[in-house]
């Protein structure tokens, strides 16, 4: 293994991404990848040997499921090794030298990400033949599901990687907590998927679930990637334009994907992503000399740049809460069957959606008003939460009262009120909400700096 490492060490050309070279060298110098590689090969041989010894009748589904678990466990080890290394480095403020080089944020992020993904891919390919052999045949459905699971794995790795690298926080603990939680989720998801898949001969619903889980995680990971990228950039007028526009494009793609795959939750994802982008845009752009100089002179373009120019820290936080709660609700609400063997995923989704759609709409309202509260507090920090609560109650109740006076569940006021959720007008409430959010963002970005900062100005006589 040492010789192999030395050969590879010497064969990195100068043009390669320096971070990728460094991370890959560290991976090769470490023991995790080699250990996982050898472990995977040995386990594959052992299982294949056992499989040949045991007759197909005596071979239970638990046998394959066990192999799956071990396989995924070995696969995740190198990634976990990298996260652990970054965890220590972040804790000791050791990533600082990397951030003081002239490397672009893209180079840093891509280097870190690809080093993990490449080592995972090597291991994945190592175990794939044995896996397919153990499944009995080169079944298209088995291969497809397996690839989907790998895609899910990659998305999770990306997400964890980005959470570990986030320059937003100097301490590790806060960033690593969601990372470790998601790591647990990965085991849970993969085990759950494969157990359900092998125990269910018809394999009904397994693909739907796998696709949705992948889409969900990928959308989150991509957003997280752009967020990290933007936070590594200096304060400038167009800092957030790329992440935000990419986020919106991603949302649109999700809509298209949900249409193709007939996934109801695609709309939910789309709404989540769009609102997340909007929330992120609520934070004002710091109007430094540089950012002011870089803002376009054209008023229309200026509005667009201002709209997309903010930080995304809060948006991400809400996104995490939103997603975690949504996923938990989706999978734990319906417990009508309780057996893994005969789960009807479609039935479960139908039952969940009755809960999920109002829940999503309710979350949108909560997020919108929570953000409004933050903005108002920023506007005037002396306002106490009670005052703000009253303002928000006013916001919530006024449109409801107006629409009741106007004759029930119709009219423009209805769209902005929580009543629209109660009466099931989700499809109209969400776009209306988004329009309101857009207007709010435009207002926030255009109020003068002095207006926001007047509370910090010294009083007369001080």
């Amino acid at each position: 293994m040492k010789n192999f490492a030395e050969i590879l060490n010497k064969s990195f050309p100068d043009g390669m991404n320096p971070v990728l070279v460094k991370e890959f060298r560290q991976t090769l110098n470490g023991r995790t990848l080699a250990g996982s590689f050898i472990g995977l090969v040995l386990i594959s041989i052992l299982f294949c040997f056992l499989d040949l010894q045991i007759s197909p009748v005596g071979r239970g589904t638990g046998f394959s499921a066990l192999y799956c678990f071990i396989y995924w466990f070995m696969l995740i080890l190198p990634a976990a090794g990298c996260f652990s290394r970054w965890y220590v480095e972040r804790g000791q403020d050791c990533l600082t030298p990397e951030y003081t080089t002239t490397l672009s944020p893209f180079t840093i992020l891509n280097g870190k990400l690809f080093s993990v993904l490449i080592s995972s891919l090597i291991l994945f390919l190592t175990g794939l033949p044995a896996f397919l052999f153990l499944c009995g045949r080169w079944d298209y459905s088995v291969l497809l599901l397996f690839l989907l699971a790998f895609a899910f794995f990659l998305a999770t790795v990306m997400l964890l990687c980005l959470l570990c690298l986030s320059p937003e926080r100097r301490k590790v603990s806060t960033g690593s907590l969601p990372g470790l939680t998601l790591l647990g989720l990965l085991f849970w998801f993969v085990g759950f998927q494969f157990l359900g898949f092998f125990c269910n001969p018809a394999r009904e619903g397994a693909f739907d679930m796998a696709i949705q889980a992948d889409v969900l995680l990928f959308s989150f990971a991509v957003q997280c990637y752009f967020w990290c990228y933007a936070r590594l950039l200096p304060e400038q007028a167009n800092r957030m334009v790329l992440p935000r526009i990419s986020g919106l494009i991603l949302c649109l793609l999700l809509v298209a994907l949900s249409g193709v795959c007939r996934l109801d939750s695609g709309l939910v994802l789309c709404c989540y992503g769009t609102v997340n982008v909007l929330i992120a845009s609520f934070e004002r752009l710091e109007q430094t000399k540089r950012s002011c100089a870089e803002l376009p002179g054209n008023p229309f373009l200026r509005q667009i740049v201002l709209f997309f120019s903010s930080g995304a820290c809060r948006g991400l936080f809400y996104g995490i809460v939103f997603l975690a709660a949504g996923i938990l609700l989706l999978f734990f609400t319906d417990a009508s069957t309780g057996k893994w063997g005969d789960i009807s995923w479609n039935g479960r989704f139908a039952a969940c959606l009755d809960w999920y759609n109002p829940y999503v709409a309710f979350c949108l309202y909560l997020v919108f008003y929570a953000e409004l509260l933050l903005v108002l507090r920023r506007w005037n920090p002396r306002w106490k939460p009670l005052v703000l609560l009253l303002i928000i109650c006013g916001f919530l109740s006024l449109p409801s009262m107006l629409c009741l006076f106007a004759g029930g569940g119709e009219g423009i006021f209805f769209l902005f009120s929580p009543l629209s959720i109660a009466f099931g007008e989700k499809s109209l409430a969400i776009p209306a909400l988004l329009c309101a959010a857009v207007l709010l963002v435009i207002v926030i970005q255009n109020v003068s700096v002095a207006f926001f900062r007047k509370v910090f100005a010294p009083r007369k006589g001080e």
Partner: protein, 310 residues
Amino acid sequence: MRIRVEDLTKRFGSNVALDKVTFEVPSGSVYGFVGPNGAGKTTAIRIMAGLEGPDSGTVLYDDLSAVEYPEKARRFVGFMPDTLADSKDIRVWEYLDFFARACGLAGKEKEKALIRAGELTNLDNLSGRFLCELSKGMKQQVSLARILLHEPSVLLLDEPAAGLDPRARAELRESLRSLAADGRTMLISSHILAELEDLVDGVVIIEKGKISACGELSEIRNRSASGECRALLTFSSDAASFAGKVEALCPGKSVKVHSPRQLLLILDSEEEYFSAMAKIFQAGLPVTALSRPDCGLEGVFMEKTKGEVQ
């Protein structure tokens, strides 16, 4: 390249880490950046290195603002943090090779830069060793080599000698001295004032986020001179037994026992100092060492700071 810091302010919540900090380091000079713990030195240096943004104010390298354009400033600024990464599974040469690549060096140019940095910091014997196996002093040498790879014209060093043994400190001092001779502008944050004294041209003293003094060493000494003159006498045996004799030789002057073998003599002027010393030596008192604490950086530091933290 001249460093100019203008009205730098940074808050962490309600705590004001830097309060309108303003100072200047002339081109090609070496300045010490000193202050008690928690004074704001590291925060200021991190902002100067473009790692953090200030709430207000700016840092100018000649005319380029490191606050507005940190990515441009990084090209000619080398920042050495107080500790080097305890990076696992990476050898010294791999670590330096990474930073050389990160600085855009390639081929022979990269090799030359690595050799040059290695020679300046005496790293030849360490290149094959893993970073996590190195001592603190060796790590500081590696860290110094790292920031020299792209030949920056400005060096910002945050506590470079912290935690080093006397030998490692001496080696680091030699490395810094040779760098200073190259005409680089350097700002060295340190607690070890004796180390800085014979290395720096000037000093920036910061306390509670505010600048207490800034300028050439001699200039600050003259500014702060109160006329009082202090002499620290070290004896070969118990100092207290000689206190009476010293008082008799310098009537009316304050004589205090500073340590078991040291007496502190406080005089009114330089003239008094010379005559008192002549008397003490003529009397044949067993003085083994003589120093002037008020003339050194430590004296200036003690006078300018109160030891308060935020």
